[in-house]
Amino acid sequence: MKKEMTCIVCPIGCQMTVEEKADGTYDVTGNTCKRGPKYAVAEMTNPTRVIPTTVVIRNAMLPRLPVKTAEPIPKGKIFEAMEAINKVSIDAPVKTGDVVIKDLLGLGIDVVSTRTMDKC
């Protein structure tokens, strides 16, 4: 499999081509430093992202509380994660870092609050 990607390790943004070889290793071209291939291989084998979003909060100054996954989750699970997170609603008060969902989708990763919101 061959894939084109833009490197985001630094602002140069090299256009890289990644190709999987028969032995399961990867050939990376187009990079200008050695950090490029490392990023490219991670993107091919196990791409992950932190998901920042919101949940419904009651009895607070605002109706939404910002949250994020405490660790990056697999890219392929993003929409499933959004569906699970959007089902949750909680009550104020909440502090930054409080766990909003324990063990999201059985991934072993929590969803945590990213701000403090008092009851009002």
């Binding site: 990607m5 602002p11 994020k68």
Partner: protein, 422 residues
């Protein structure tokens, strides 16, 4: 009472400036904020990627804001919320700030020094004059961001975004995650105005097409937006006949630039720079009116909040040095933008106030590859900054040591983009 330092704005710039002024010895510091809480625009920027330079970790906007709010509260810095600043009058040693809020009505605040940190506003559809109707469904990207992330309203389901500024890119991803179908991001220029990281993580990740050299030539729909006509533009940015494409949509987001919010600055008679649309500032962000300082997006639009914080520490320090009578007012150098550079901040340098280095912030006018930025005083090359790639979207951060600048008695520091020496 007469305050030492009053900071106009409680966003990232105001918080960092107030904290630094207080730490550096200003006793009575006050923050005046028009919103219902401190933190400014960071409160709606719920995505991650903030703080990589300042804290060496990846924070969301609210988390980054909370760290500075905590510092301000720990230092016991008072603040007014829901308070609008109407005017700033310079009476020499004492400045009068006219403000209004629901609780106290109209009142005046007296202070020795002021830090301007009002930030910026988004350019609107009126500002760019798109032909067509004016239906519901057209928003600036930041307005949509506030609706979704703070108020809990979804602006629409079928989305086109005009402009590839960072807020537009972030909103393309955000709306996709919340179930909308983002059909395209159109950018007038042949390059994006957003950070590479955001193009990859917000568009490429979700297969959202970025149409470079494209603009919107007509807005359709009388009550609610029904669609937009998109066309390719030539190298003079004029739509090319025959390239029109109709895209049905119910929502159009505009991410077409930010304008520093300087009504108070202009009314106070502070000298402005037409290149940045912000005040002319010195190395400690002093303006042309003694005792008035400015930092953050009100001076020039930054791409990373980390650099706003860095700049605001300078302004906070400048304000505290001013009230202690330690600030030198004799400018040694002025700066100017030569070929390839759009603007340079600071516009002036008073060498006696400089510790070890001066950081010059600037933006290039177009994409350059394998070029360098050179700094000259007269014909003399004094420093070079190498970059493999220079992008208008990424601010250049050019540090020059005090020792190097001190070799010259005065003059103009000129920054130019040139070929790298072989």
């Amino acid at each position: 009472m007469i305050y030492d330092v009053v900071v106009l704005g409680g966003g990232p710039a105001g918080l960092a400036a107030a904290v630094e002024a207080k730490k550096d010895g200003a006793n009575d510091v006050l923050i005046v904020e028009r919103d219902r809480e401190l933190g400014g625009i960071l409160n709606q920027c719920i995505h991650n990627g903030f703080g990589l330079h300042t804290f060496n970790e990846e924070l969301t906007g609210p988390e980054y804001a909370e760290r500075y709010i905590k510092q301000a509260l720990e230092l016991g810095i008072p603040y007014y919320l829901n308070t609008m600043v109407l005017d700033l009058i310079d009476n020499g040693e004492i400045k009068t700030i006219h403000v209004i809020n629901e609780e106290n009505g109209y009142m005046t605040i007296e202070t020795k020094a002021v830090v301007l940190t009002m930030g910026c506003r988004e350019r609107t559809s009126g500002a760019i004059g798109i032909p067509g109707y004016r239906p519901a469904g057209v928003f600036t990207a930041g307005t949509a961001q506030r609706f979704i992330n703070m108020e809990g309203y979804m602006p629409g389901k079928e989305v086109v975004i005009l402009g590839s500024g960072d807020i537009g890119l972030i909103m393309a991803r955000r709306m996709t995650l919340e179930g909308a179908n983002v059909k395209a991001v159109c950018e007038l220029m042949p390059y994006s105005n957003g950070l590479v990281r955001n193009i990859v993580q917000c568009l490429d990740d979700y297969d959202i097409p970025l149409k470079l050299s494209h603009t919107i030539t007509f807005i359709h729909g009388k009550d609610r937006l029904e669609g937009v006509t998109v066309a390719q533009v030539d190298d003079r940015l004029k739509p090319i006949p025959g390239t029109d494409e109709y895209i049905p949509c119910d929502t159009l987001l505009l991410s077409v630039g930010l304008i520093p919010e300087n009504e108070i600055t202009r009314n106070a008679g502070i000298e402005m720079d037409r290149r940045t649309n912000g005040p002319v500032v010195g190395e400690l962000r002093q303006t042309s009116v003694p005792g008035v300082f400015a930092c953050g997006n009100v001076v020039h639009v930054h791409d990373l909040v980390d650099f706003v914080s860095e700049e605001s520490v300078l302004a906070g320090k400048g304000a505290s040095m001013y009230i202690k009578g330690q600030l030198d007012s004799e400018n040694t150098f002025t700066t100017t933008n030569g070929d390839g550079i759009g603007y340079v901040v600071p516009q002036q340098v008073a060498m006696k106030n400089v510790d070890e280095t001066v950081t010059f912030y600037m933006r290039v006018r177009q994409v350059f590859k394998d070029k360098v930025v050179n700094a000259y005083i007269g014909d003399q090359l004094i420093a070079t900054k190498k970059e493999k790639k220079l992008l208008p979207a990424e601010m250049v951060n050019f540090k020059i040591a005090k020792d190097e600048l001190a070799k010259y008695p005065s003059g103009e520091i000129r920054f130019v983009v040139e070929d790298a020496k072989k």
